[in-house]
């Protein structure tokens, strides 16, 4: 909500309701606009802590007062309840309307077996924007990393994502993965879903959502 800060009856500063503030100081000779990004470009929107009772987390971008061109999700030690379990990501136009088709996702990953560099592999999927397979469920295993989501709220463009994650497998091998995706549907993707495969819950760990200011 826009607002005005006054001192002794004089307007000192006005806010545009989106974080940007214009300072009106006669001694400066002209108004000075402080961009919304001052103080940091990443805006913490929500931090979700998994608690072993929920299968999936759905972020609803429409509930936040500010809309961003870019969003970032940080996954920290996200551990599934079931061993050897995939963790995935999907988008949706609403929390009750998650899209299960029409993605273009490809990923590349490389493994360290514990004693040696193991193979590299690339895979694709059309039913999700993110997939990290076969994660372990013990303490110290699971998934960590970051995901960037570009222009999800722009209904005229296709949402794209870029993710890099590290995972500890059920057999204690270690994987580094990069993954990119395109939503073939140009739409306002208000919902971002992170879920465990095969009816597993998300046992522990955090998922933190940030909006990124670009001005």
């Amino acid at each position: 909500m826009p607002g005005v800060l006054k001192l002794e009856g004089t307007n000192i500063a006005t806010g545009d309701g989106n974080g940007a503030v214009t300072i009106n100081n006669a001694t400066l000779g002209s108004a000075v606009t402080v961009p919304a990004s001052v103080g940091g470009t990443e805006v913490l929107l929500e931090k979700y802590t998994a608690n072993d009772s929920v299968t999936n987390k759905i972020f609803d971008l429409s509930t936040f007062s500010e809309t961003f061109n870019e969003y970032k999700l940080v996954l920290n030690k996200l551990i599934p309840t079931n061993d050897n379990c995939d963790i995935n990501g999907r988008l949706g136009t609403a929390t009750g309307s998650i899209q299960t088709t029409n993605y273009r996702m490809c990923r590349w990953h490389t493994y360290f077996s514990g004693t040696d560099q193991a193979g590299n592999s690339s895979l694709y999927s059309t039913d999700r924007f993110f997939l990290h397979t076969a994660l372990g469920n013990a303490t110290g295993e699971g998934l960590s990393g970051e995901m960037f989501i570009f222009s999800p709220r722009n209904a005229l463009t296709n949402t794209t994502t870029s993710c890099q994650t590290v995972g500890v497998y059920y057999d204690n091998s270690f994987e580094y993965q990069v993954c990119g995706s395109l939503n073939m549907n140009a739409q306002d993707d208000k919902a971002i879903q992170i879920y465990a495969e095969s009816s597993s819950n998300l046992k522990s760990g955090t998922i933190t959502l940030y909006g990124i200011r670009d001005a």
Partner: protein, 79 residues
């Protein structure tokens, strides 16, 4: 066992019967997909790195390399 989801601004919500049915179908599809494709994942993790494979070819020849690759394929057969 009922499933739950956590939605921003709403909190924890139990799946509707329709969502439970959809999730059951998806789980079955996922299990079938895993059953048919797990060998690819297992093989990709078991193959030596590209550098090691090239090293094997250089020092021991193609037949040695083929034997090494075959051992992985045999260990994780295509269903």
């Amino acid at each position: 066992m009922p499933r739950f989801k956590h939605i921003t601004g709403v909190g924890v919500v139990q799946y509707t019967p329709e969502e439970e049915t959809e999730a059951d179908i998806e789980d079955a599809k996922s299990a079938e997909h895993t059953k048919l494709n797990q060998y690819k994942e297992d093989r990709s993790r078991a193959y030596p790195s590209y550098a090691d494979q090239l090293d094997t070819i250089y020092h021991q020849g193609i037949d040695a390399w083929k034997a090494e690759i075959k051992a992985v394929k045999d260990k994780y057969p295509k269903p």
